[in-house]
């Protein structure tokens, strides 16, 4: 009998693990999910509400894919994990045994104990169920006169964009002095503030939620703002103040948890044959400058790729390469390669360039002394992942990066380039005399 690998969670982490185990072995694989029958792209949920796509378009694999690859899908909600008996109990009373268990549980929206946080019309936006709920709570501007979003991060801005696509007035409460300023440097964050307001979103910075007020039917009727005690009438409240690992049902198991499921570099928990990956995994010691819990699509996938090797007899630590990420803020795309912090690290400095149209900017974090390139945030311009990854590995100087910026450009053909502007701003800033190099296919494809 082949080993039975059970994966709880059919998100990107769990599904990547399953796919790679199947590439490497004939093990029996079961993916368990309480959310949906099939894997879908969580990042695309917003586009369903906005009418860009239908649910079926968010499924990266056709439905026959799973049986063709002998990956069994089980729809069910796990209530208990018995690691002694290596068995799972489901809410319908049924059981399933495993030889190896992969916890790819994902996250749930944070609730910080606000009064009224469980009222009808108050919701986060993470799961397919949350999306269905939003469709019910805010079908159009007639039945939803105003929505208030609490928490200025990536999901908050997505939710604001979604609601605006149906002309629903949105008030966006952000605790920080500027949008996503704990992650983004001031210049970028300020540009996004202006962009958000230009989309007719009522952005309130330095503003905290005090409580959510109920009508007589247990439905939200308004929110109260802490600083001003102002009452804002609304029909929907979006709670988007971050997410945390979805691990409540493990409380009574022997699996060691902190904020997430504690794992070592092999992604193993304290219990043999039980692993955790993706949003729910908490590294015992953070890797490099990374956070110990990384709730990001890409890291979930990378953990899945790595864990499949370990499970198939080639134990390997989770050892991610250079940090990268991306997002889109309304009309402005964002990419980041390497590390750029909101305030430069000790011994580092920032070089910031912003375009006069106020919809494009970059920030480079570099070593103050030798100007070694550490990372770049890019807004409104697309750049090549491969090139920046290589430059980071090669420890290039920022001078080199800025001179060769045309190699990195990934905007569609015929787009106007901004490399010249950036270079001249750089020369002004550092008193250098750098010259822009022509784009070279040879350099772009040297190693790939």
């Amino acid at each position: 009998m082949e080993e039975h690998i059970v994966i709880i969670g059919n998100g990107i982490s769990g599904v990547t693990t399953a796919r790679h185990i199947r590439k490497l072995s004939d093990k029996k694989i079961t993916i368990v999910s309480a959310e949906t029958d099939h894997f879908f792209s969580r990042t695309a949920l917003m586009y369903i509400y906005m009418g860009h796509m239908k649910y079926e378009h968010t499924k990266p694999y056709e439905d026959y894919f799973w049986s063709k690859n002998r990956i069994e899908l089980k729809r069910g909600y796990v209530t208990t994990v018995n690691t002694d008996a290596q068995s799972l109990q489901f809410s319908d009373g049924s059981h399933m045994t495993y030889d190896k268990l992969v916890l790819a549980l994902g996250s749930k929206p944070n609730k910080f104990g606000w009064p009224g946080q469980d009222l009808k019309g108050v919701q986060g936006l993470y799961s397919k169920q949350d999306l269905d709920m939003l469709e019910e709570n805010a079908p159009d501007a007639k039945s939803c006169k105003r929505a208030v979003i609490v928490g200025g991060g990536l999901i908050g801005i997505e939710m604001a964009e979604m609601l605006r696509s149906r002309d629903i007035p949105v008030t966006f409460l952000v605790r920080e002095k500027s949008f996503w300023n704990s992650v983004l440097p001031d210049g970028e964050s300020a540009m996004l503030n202006r962009h958000i307001k230009s989309h007719h979103i009522d952005l309130r910075l330095n503003t905290n939620l005090d409580e959510i007020l109920s009508d007589k039917n247990g439905r939200v009727r308004a929110v109260k703002i802490k600083e001003t005690s102002e009452e804002l009438a609304c029909d929907v409240v979006g709670l988007t103040a971050g997410v945390s690992p979805n691990i409540d049902f493990l409380k009574d198991s022997k699996i060691e948890c902190g904020r997430g499921v504690k794992v070592n570099r092999q992604l193993e928990t304290n219990i043999p044959n039980v692993y955790a990956i993706g949003d729910c995994a908490q590294q015992r010691e953070a890797i490099g400058l990374r956070r110990s819990i990384e709730a990001v699509w890409y890291t979930g996938r990378m953990m899945g790729e790595t864990l499949a090797q370990t499970i198939c007899g080639r134990p390997m630590p989770y050892n991610p390469g250079h940090w990268f990420n991306s997002a889109k803020f309304l009309d402005i795309e964002y990419q980041t390669y390497g590390w750029v912090f909101s305030k430069p690290l000790e011994g580092h400095t920032h070089f910031h360039w912003i375009h006069q149209d106020d919809d494009k900017c970059i920030t480079i974090e570099l070593n103050e002394k030798d100007r070694t390139f550490k990372g770049i945030n890019i807004f409104g311009i697309r750049m090549r992942h491969e090139i920046f990854d290589r430059w980071l590995t090669e420890n290039r100087s920022t001078d080199y990066v800025v001179e060769h910026l045309r190699d990195a450009n990934f905007d569609p053909e015929f787009f106007k380039g901004f490399e010249k502007d950036i270079l001249s701003a750089y020369n002004d800033h550092f008193g250098t005399q750098l010259q822009l190099k022509k784009k070279s296919w040879k350099r772009i494809f040297t190693t790939s």
Partner: protein
């Protein structure tokens, strides 16, 4: 703004209704002299037909083209039948009945439409154009700042296969059926455009002139929509300009002007085998008897297909033709853009696509071989295939039904590239070059894909772009026409159409960029595909 939009919509619908209603107007009278003149000009030897036509229509005023058509067709068919029975083959008139009736109706028609063609032009084309523009132009403001605006596409009956989409389908299919198979029924449309036709080529408008004019008009109006929708995207703006230019100048104006100069009208960008009748006898005869220009066209047509097309595909991919030059592509990218999301992305559809499109290519080549063999040898058939039969079959099945009725008529339900994806033999040929010998690719940006599916959803060619992007692989597909919309709608900057070195163009991967470099090396090298 919304008020302007709805006013525009109403005007457009009024224009379209009048345009449709004109089909039912007009009266048709022929004198004996008219019929004699007609039979002489068309070199018809049948007195029987002449007398049957005379007794059918002369001396009466027929107030509908449909009645007129059935009377003249009945006369033609009964005359032909008698000649056939008597084996008087030279007296049989081989014109298709509706075409024959069209020629007569063109002569016989009179009435309000014909006498007021200028006014009617404004009430039909004019109103519809102004209405459509009023409907489209407010989007500059209503859509907000430049950027991808696909909000609500799957909520609307027009773009989500609702009742409006089905209505459009029925109208388009009806239009093509009339145009291809019952041209006499649309003779009133040709009256509206007679003055414009006279000005351009010195002759009255045929149904094909109506089609060409309408085609250009629709492309320009819907091109304005493209300009507004993708005004942040220079690739789309240039591409739209290019297809409009080639349609209006190359497909429409140059052939018309050539006619007026007594040359064979030729669309210099229309390459064989899309231009499937290029090697038909009548065309070869026309070209060889048209002096230097005919010879030039003949050589150009052959060079275009054998050298220019593949060389350009090597450097730029098939997009240079399919989404920058071609008329079918041009209509698909303008009129068809609102429907691009309806192409089927399933593996099954891909399989059907490969069988169908390559079968059509083989069909067109077999037809051409048979035709050319018969042309040069004087035989009637080759390998047991009759030249006339295979040409008629291809023209009917592929030329009319597949490319026209289905290819365009089905836009609102099956997407805007049904013909280009499943049927076009030129696309099949370009696709092979693109797949095996080209610098073109859609580059996937390392590990940045989030599998959201926008690229696949909006791929008009039904390519599951995401399937490649989420593996970090470049997209190399014979069917890709390089419209660039996948790259435009990608929210994370993952896709870029580019022409680069052939080496490394196809790059199968297992583990994506961003992970442990040792793992990437190990997995990607130990699993060469």
């Amino acid at each position: 703004m919304k008020a302007i939009k709805y006013t525009g919509l109403v005007l457009f619908l009024i224009g379209l209704s009048i345009f449709t209603a004109t089909l039912f107007l007009g009266s048709f009278t022929l004198s004996k002299a008219d019929i004699t003149e007609f039979t002489n000009s068309r070199n018809i030897k049948s007195e029987l037909l002449q007398s049957k036509l005379e007794s059918a229509v002369v001396g009466q005023q027929i107030n509908s083209v449909f009645t007129f058509s059935s009377l003249t067709r009945a006369a033609l068919e009964s005359a032909n039948q008698e000649h056939k029975n008597r084996e008087e083959w030279d007296k049989v008139v081989w014109d298709k009945p509706h075409t024959f009736s069209f020629y007569l109706a063109k002569k016989a028609g009179s009435g309000y439409v014909k006498e007021n063609s200028g006014l009617l032009w404004w009430l039909t084309f004019g109103l519809a154009i102004i209405g459509a523009l009023l409907f489209i132009l407010p989007n500059v403001i209503l859509l907000g700042a430049p950027g991808i605006k696909n909000d609500g596409i799957y909520h609307k009956a027009s773009t989500n296969r609702g009742w409006i989409a089905w209505g459009v389908l029925i109208y388009l299919v009806g239009f093509y059926l009339l145009l291809y198979f019952m041209p006499d029924y649309v003779v009133n449309w040709t009256f509206i455009l007679d003055p414009i036709s006279q000005a351009l080529n010195g002759g009255p408008a045929s149904q094909w002139f109506v089609y060409g004019f309408l085609y250009c008009t629709v492309m320009v109006v819907m091109g304005v929509r493209m300009y507004i929708k993708y005004r942040h995207n220079k690739y789309q703006v240039l591409r739209t300009t290019s297809v409009l230019f080639f349609q209006i100048i190359f497909a429409f104006l140059i052939p018309e002007i050539m006619y007026s100069l007594n040359m064979p009208g030729y669309d210099f960008k229309n390459a064989f085998p899309l231009d499937y009748d290029f090697f038909f006898e009548w065309n070869l005869d026309t070209l060889t008897s048209s002096g230097a220009i005919g010879l030039f066209i003949l050589v150009w047509g052959i060079v275009l297909t054998l050298i220019i097309v593949p060389v350009m595909v090597y450097f730029f991919g098939k997009r240079w033709y399919c989404s920058w030059v071609c008329g079918c592509g041009g209509l698909a990218e303008t009129l068809g853009d609102p429907y691009r999301q309806h192409s089927d992305k399933s593996m099954r559809a891909w399989k059907i696509e490969r069988w169908l499109i390559h079968s059509v290519l083989v069909f067109s080549l077999v037809m051409t071989v048979v035709t050319l063999y018969c042309y040069f040898s004087g035989a009637e058939a080759f390998l047991g295939i009759k030249s006339q039969w295979i040409k008629d079959t291809y023209s009917f099945l592929i030329g009319a039904w597949f490319a026209g009725v289905i290819g365009t008529g089905f836009y609102p339900i099956f997407g805007n590239r049904v013909w280009c994806r499943f049927g076009c033999p030129l696309a099949a040929y370009l696709g092979m070059v693109q797949r095996f010998k080209s610098r073109f690719r859609i580059t996937t940006n390392g590990g940045q894909c989030i599998s959201c599916g926008n690229c696949s959803t909006y791929c008009e060619q039904g390519i599951d772009v995401r399937a490649y992007a989420q593996k970090g692989e470049n997209i190399i597909r014979s069917s890709c026409v390089g419209c660039g919309i996948c790259s435009a709608v990608c929210p994370r900057g993952v896709l870029k159409l580019e022409n680069g070195p052939e080496k490394g163009r196809i790059n199968p991967t297992q583990v994506l960029l961003g992970n442990d470099v040792d793992l990437m090396d190990y997995v990607n090298k130990s699993n060469p595909q």
